[in-house]
Structures are given as C-alpha cells and as structure tokens.
C-alpha cells in the first residue's frame, strides 16, 4: 500500500516572530523552522500503520510544499522512518492560498496514487486547517478530520475513524483511498534517531517545480487565488499595567471601585 504523509515547514512554536518592515510577510531571519507538530502525527500515524500491518506492505512517502529550506522537514520525516520524500518547490508557489496549495498537491498526485493520505489537523503557522480537506475534495476522496483513532478493516479496504466532537465522539466509516487529518491524541510521535538523522541526508529527495507538475504561471498567478494575504501587522504592544499604592484597605476599595466603575467587570 502507498501511504502519504503531508508535512509542513513552519516557525517553531516558541520562536519570536517579527514582521518585515513592509508588512508583506514575517521575517524568517533568526527564526528556527521545524515540522508542524500535527504533521509529526501524520508521519507517526503512517509509521505505525506500516509497523503494525506488515501484511499491507506499506511504503511511506512524505510530501512538502515550501521553499528550498523546507527540505529539512523531509529529512526529519526520513529520520523518523519515511521511505520517500517529495519536495514541491517553485518561486511560483510563493504566497499561494490554501486552495492553491491543495491544487499543487493534487497535481503532484496525478501520476501517483495513494491508498491513505495523512495530514495534520492544522499547521501551527496560520492555523487554518484547510489544505487537507481541500486536497481530498480535489482528488474526490473521502476526508475525516481531527481524527483521534483509526481501526483498519479487513484487507484495508475500509477504516473506522473516531473524532472528538462537542461532548461526544463521532465514529466514521470510510472506504479507502481516503484522507485523514490527525488530531493530538492518536499517536505520540517518535524522536528521529541520531543514526536516522545522519542517513536522512543521503536519501534522495524527489524535487518538483511547477513545470514538472504541468502547472503554468497563469494557473498559479494571484488572479486565481480565492483568498489573498493582505498584510501582516504585529500584535499591538500590551498596555502598561496599573499599580495601586497605599494601605491594604484603601487599595482594596480602590480596586473594587475600578472593577465596578471603570472596567465594569463586577
């Protein structure tokens, strides 16, 4: 079986994000980029499927769309245990919206069919969670989102996935091929082993640009974007706090007065 894990190259969650002076994008200088933690779930889900179902004879491909440096997340996927890596990279892909990204991914799957596609529930950069469902739609595959467990049917023709919904759990049965986006709680991603990290550098990466995917500049141009990032602004600085001084009784009275009359919180 052919298994695909979609992986995204994003700023680390603790990175201090700065916006470029012209507000066009975030400034990547000095920011450490990693695989989105939810994409680690997508890779781990694929690895565990392969390890627990020898009969399925699974082969795992990791795929990313991103700048040249994004190849790092494929190296991470290799170090965790992925067999193949596909890097979709082209200046024309810069600034694509989610539907645009899904279209490029779908184009990459024209000649290569996968039985199961794992995506993360969302990436931790923009938190939109749209690429997975959009890709499933474009490929005509069933999609189950925010999955927390999967049971595989006999012969891997079907699967039963569970997802958390408000106050309950939803159980969804799907036919394969299908796309799952994985939530926290299904699998605990492994750390890439150090020998795995070393070997990952030597593994070939299948790099594809727009031309290789048969996509023209016109198709990818801003005219075809359904949404467009208008600009970036850093969050406003936090207003300074206010400090009350005096005797405890006075301060308590003043605090109650502020909460009631000025802030209207009580």
């Amino acid at each position: 079986m052919k298994i695909l894990s979609l992986v995204k190259y994003v700023p680390e969650s603790t990175a201090a994000i700065k916006v470029k002076a012209d507000g066009s994008a975030i400034d990547p200088a000095g920011v450490k980029f990693v695989m989105t933690p939810f994409c680690e779930f997508a890779v781990e889900a694929a690895l565990q499927f392969k390890e627990k179902n020898a009969a399925a004879n699974a082969e795992i491909t990791a795929m990313t769309l991103g700048p040249a440096a994004a190849v790092d997340v494929l190296r991470t996927a290799f170090a965790m245990g992925a067999d193949h890596g596909v890097h979709l990279s082209d200046p024309l892909f810069e600034g694509l919206d989610d539907l645009g990204v899904a279209r490029v991914l779908a184009a990459a799957m024209k000649d290569q069919k996968f039985d199961v596609i794992f995506a993360g529930k969302h990436a931790i950069d923009y938190d939109r969670g749209q690429v997975g469902p959009a890709l499933a739609e474009l490929l005509g595959l069933p999609h189950v989102g925010a999955v927390t467990s999967i049971e595989w049917g006999a012969d891997f023709k079907t699967a039963t996935a569970r997802r958390r919904i408000e106050g309950a759990e939803e159980v969804v049965e799907v036919q394969l091929p299908c796309l799952f986006s994985i939530d926290k709680g299904y699998v605990e991603p492994r750390y890439p082993s150090l020998p795995g990290l070393m070997k990952a550098k030597k593994k070939p990466v299948d790099a594809k640009n727009a031309a290789a995917l048969g996509l023209s500049a016109a198709e990818l141009s801003g005219d075809n974007w359904t949404t467009k990032m208008d600009g970036f602004t850093p969050p406003p600085p936090r207003p300074p706090g206010r400090k009350l001084e005096g005797e405890p009784e006075q301060m308590a009275k003043e605090l109650v007065r502020i909460l009631r009359e000025e802030e209207k919180l009580i």
Binding site: Y191, P192, S193, L194, P195, L197, M198
Partner: protein, 395 residues
C-alpha cells in the same frame, strides 16, 4: 592584519557568547538540537520530581536508546557510530537536564560498552553490545571499593582461578546503575595484576543493594556490589587488557563526556539565574540592573565560554586520535569546577527561591558535588596534570 568596517551588527548569543556552535559541523548541530529537544520535552519536566523522590526515571531508557544515545560513539554492533564531539554534545544536553541522566548514559556507553568493545573478544561484543545499545541490557562498572577510590591499585576485590573458572570475592561501592544492571564490569586483583570480568546478574554469590539517603544524584541509582565466592567462567574474562590501564582507559572515555556535561549543567544554572535577575525586583529595580549581579553573571558567561572552547578542542583532538589523558583531566577539572561554582552562585542569586526543588540550580549544585568527586576527584586531576608537567608522580 587590517581593520575593516563591520559588515553587520553582531549580537553574541547569550548562551554561546563566542559562537562556538559555528565550529560544529551541520551533523553535530543537528544531533545537539535533537537531544536538546528530548531533554526539554522529556527530562526537564520530570526530573525535579524524580530527584525529590530519590528515583531514577527508568521510563526514559527506551527513548534514550531509540534516539541512539547508548554507546553512540561506537561503530557497528547496532550503535550509532557518531564522532566524539557528537558524543560530547549529547552529554552536554543530557546534563543540562540532570547529571543523573547523563551519568546513566556515560556509564552504559563509556564505562561498560567501551571496555567490552576494546578489551573484549568478538563473542563478548556480539553477546552484549547490540542489546546494550537498545537499552535492553544495562551495565554497571565496578572499580571503587568501600575503602577507597583514588587508589585503585590497592583494591581488595580479588579473583582466583579454580578449575576452569574464576572465583571472585570482595565488594564495590558507589556504583551507578548497580541494582538494575544485567552485567557488571568488575575489576579484580589476580596473580596476574588487575583483570576485568563480566559478572552477570544471576550469578550465584553476586548481590547488590542501593545506597539510599543521598543528597546528590538523587535521580540516579547508586549501589553497592558484593561478591561472595562468585564463580565466573573464563569466557567472561575480558581477555585483551591487564593492569590498571584497563579501568583507567574506561575512565578517560567517561571523563571526556563529563567535561561536556559540566557545560550543560552550568548553562542550565546560568540561564536560570539570568532570567531570575531580570524579573526579580529588589530595592525598586531588577537585580540585573545592579553592578554586583551583572559582574557575577558576566563571570558565569566567561567561565562557560572557556569551558565550551576547551571541550570542543579536546573533542577534535580525540576525533583525530591525538588526545592525551591528562588533557581530559584538565578539562574535567576546569569544567566541573566552573559548573559547581556557577551552580552555587546561581543558587545564591535566586535567594530563598533557590532552595526550592522547583528551581534547577540547587539540584545541579548538589549533583555536581558528586561529579567533581567521581571518576577522579578534582585533587587527583590536579596532581595528574602536575605530574605530567613535572615528570614525577607526587601521589
């Protein structure tokens, strides 16, 4: 030499003031990052509690093994085959978490897998090393005895050949991993000088017990080993070494890793003191706005920087096969000393908060009292460097 206008504004990294990381290869940096992540996510969140409970977090062993940290600088036998600088960086990151966790890895790799590889035969290597790399078999190293550690030549534990077997009698003390070990590398006096034996946990007459109520390395197992007429087959004798150079050769490997470990502990304490000094307001200003505190923090940074450069050069020499054991001792002496001094000073800067298990510096400080003592005390290190310089051994 010409002076040139600076191309860009350079801001030194707070925890790597001389950008020593730029001297590492890409592989080495990646290894350091991978282990740092493991330490941040898995070790630091649990280690204060483990220390408090006087418990070694054994549950970390499978992940330590699957990362490839056990015997990582051994080539073959399912080991990672990394260079010695990488091994050092691993020790540094682990000890940034806790000296006990680093000790576990040092003992398994440098004190147990190294002698099996170097002094053992092929059968012994095949039997033990792959399982030890996977963390399924644990080793311990028995050299120090209840009556002394710095003077191993006078050890009382002895082995006598009887029939085809060796019969070992004696006791070993302060043995890391002792009660969880599947195999003990035991050094015993024979008619032929000191020899090394692989004593297996189920061998009759071999017992061990934990040393409890420690004030240091509380998140690590420290044990006593007892040998009461333990019969060990000839096949368990390490055939390729005789004399004290056997155990001392292992100690050189472990001490090398400790030089890096000291940097990790020092950085953890320095970071904690610096962060505290920036937010702790005393006499209406943060501690970090005062000259006294700035001088103390600057001195921590200076000492960490020298230690980083010392260990890296040591590691490069080791990787090139031109490292002398006295050079390892100078680095262990320096780096553990600076780490202990920084830990004590950081604890002091933290004020009353610094005595709580919720802060790291006091734990590192207590641990480093062991680290400055084990695998050669600071005094012994000074005297060996002294004997190297003067040409005469003064002890």
């Amino acid at each position: 030499m010409t002076a040139q206008a600076p191309a860009a504004v350079i801001t030194p990294d707070t925890f790597d003031f001389y950008n020593v990381r730029s001297l590492l290869t890409e592989d080495e940096r990646q290894i350091q990052d991978a282990v740092a992540r493991f330490v941040d996510e898995k070790v630091i969140p649990v280690i204060g509690h483990a220390f408090d409970e006087h418990r070694f977090p054994k549950e970390l062993i499978p992940e330590i093994a699957s990362l490839g940290l056990l015997g990582c600088n051994i080539e073959g036998y399912d080991c990672a085959g990394l260079n010695h600088v990488s091994y050092g960086l691993i020790c540094q990151e682990l000890e940034r978490g806790d000296s006990g966790v680093r000790s576990f890895v040092s003992v398994q790799g440098s004190l147990c897998m190294y002698p099996i590889l170097t002094y053992g035969n092929e059968e012994q290597r095949q039997r033990w090393l792959p399982g030890m790399a996977r963390g399924e078999l644990i080793g311990c190293f028995g050299l120090t005895e209840p009556d002394g550690g710095s003077d191993p030549g006078t050890m009382k534990t002895h082995a006598v050949k009887k029939g085809g077997d060796w019969v070992i009698n004696g006791a070993k003390m302060w043995i890391t991993n002792g009660t969880i070990a599947d195999v003990a590398i035991v050094w015993a006096m024979t008619d032929d000088g000191v020899r090394g034996f692989l004593v297996e946990k189920d061998m009759a007459g071999y017992t061990s017990r934990d040393i409890l109520r420690k004030m240091s390395l509380r998140a690590s197992i420290t044990s006593e080993l007892f040998f009461d007429n333990v019969r060990v087959p000839e096949a368990n004798l390490l055939p390729n070494v005789r004399g004290l150079k056997g155990p001392l050769g292992c100690l050189t490997q472990a001490r090398y890793g400790i030089t890096w470990g000291g940097i990790g502990a020092a950085i953890a304490c320095f970071r904690e003191a610096l962060e505290w000094a920036k937010v702790r307001v005393v006499f209406k200003r943060p501690l970090s706005h005062t000259q006294t505190i700035q001088r103390r923090l600057a001195d921590m940074s200076r000492r960490i920087t020298t230690a980083q450069l010392l260990s890296l050069q040591l590691g490069r020499m080791k990787d090139e096969g031109r490292m002398h054991h006295a050079q390892v001792l100078m680095a262990k002496w320096n780096n553990v000393r600076i780490a202990l001094d920084i830990a004590r000073d950081a604890r002091d800067i933290l004020g009353a908060a610094g005595i709580s298990i919720e802060t790291h510096s006091i734990r590192h400080m207590l641990n480093l009292e062991s680290v400055i003592t084990y695998e050669g005390t600071e005094t012994i290190h000074e005297l060996i460097v002294g004997s190297q310089l003067c040409g005469t051994q003064a002890f």
